[in-house]
């Protein structure tokens, strides 16, 4: 693939959105013939970032917006999950907060940017992601 394929989603950060966006990412990856195991791993990581954005980012306040931007070029897939809230991946010992651990086990690189809301930026290799953990 020479050009960059893109998927962009912007919506309200409601509780059913992680599932819907996860399915959209899965369909996007199917178009480019990414194998099932690799897709499963990528959407697992993306799903955790989406849950974090919805569950933690807004606390008890009214829900804000949620954005996902995916860029696929050759075997590199970069996915950004953005929200307007504050970052709050909880520690795993609480029985919650496995999200960041799962993302780090799957993604080649993870960056968390809190300069304006929270952006979780993940890089995946679409041929190898399920083999590297």
């Amino acid at each position: 693939m020479n050009e960059t394929a893109q998927l962009n989603v912007r919506c309200a950060a409601d509780g059913d959105r992680p599932r819907l966006i996860r399915h959209a990412v899965d369909s996007f990856l199917q178009i480019y013939k990414i194998d099932r195991a690799t897709r499963d791993d990528i959407i697992m990581a993306v799903g955790e970032a989406l849950i974090n954005a919805v569950e933690h980012a807004y606390g008890d306040e009214a829900h804000g917006s949620l954005e996902l931007h995916a860029h696929l070029k050759d075997t590199d897939l970069e996915v950004e999950v953005k929200d307007d809230g504050r970052f709050l991946f909880r520690p795993s010992h609480e029985g919650r907060g496995f999200g960041l651990r799962i993302i780090k086990a799957i993604a080649l690189r993870v960056e968390i940017d809190r300069t304006s809301g929270t952006t979780v930026r993940m890089l995946f290799n679409t041929r190898l992601s399920h083999e590297i953990a």
């Binding site: 059913d16 992680p18 599932r19 195991a37 955790e48 849950i51 496995f98 086990a105 953990a133």
Partner: protein
């Protein structure tokens, strides 16, 4: 012979964030059981929401010395446990027969 009944809790579909309350209620249905088979063979996706509910159930089960066996068929769920560092925290089996055998053996000890 005193037999402890095995309580089976069956899960289906996507175990994810929007079903978190339903998941907690499902686990509550086995809150007093001493031998529990968690059958995830009908699951098509699981995320950390399911893991959180599972860990909470395991903690509560330990307090009453309950035994838990899990049936996990979906490779994605198996890898989720591994990525979260939880694969060794549970007795995981590929089918009900193996899980029930494990629970029976645990009772006999």
């Amino acid at each position: 012979m005193n037999q402890t009944p095995v309580v089976v809790v069956k899960f289906d579909g996507e175990l994810e964030f929007s079903r978190r309350e339903e998941l907690r209620e499902k686990f509550l249905s086995a809150a007093n059981a001493l031998s529990v088979l968690l059958d995830f063979s009908g699951v098509t996706y699981a995320d950390s929401t399911a893991l959180a509910a599972l860990i909470a159930f395991q903690k509560a089960s330990r307090k009453r010395a309950a035994r838990i066996a899990m049936v996990v068929v979906l490779p994605q769920f198996d890898r989720l446990l591994r990525y979260a560092g939880l694969h060794d925290a549970f007795a995981v089996f590929p089918d009900r027969g193996a899980a029930l055998t494990y629970l029976a053996e645990q009772k006999a000890q």
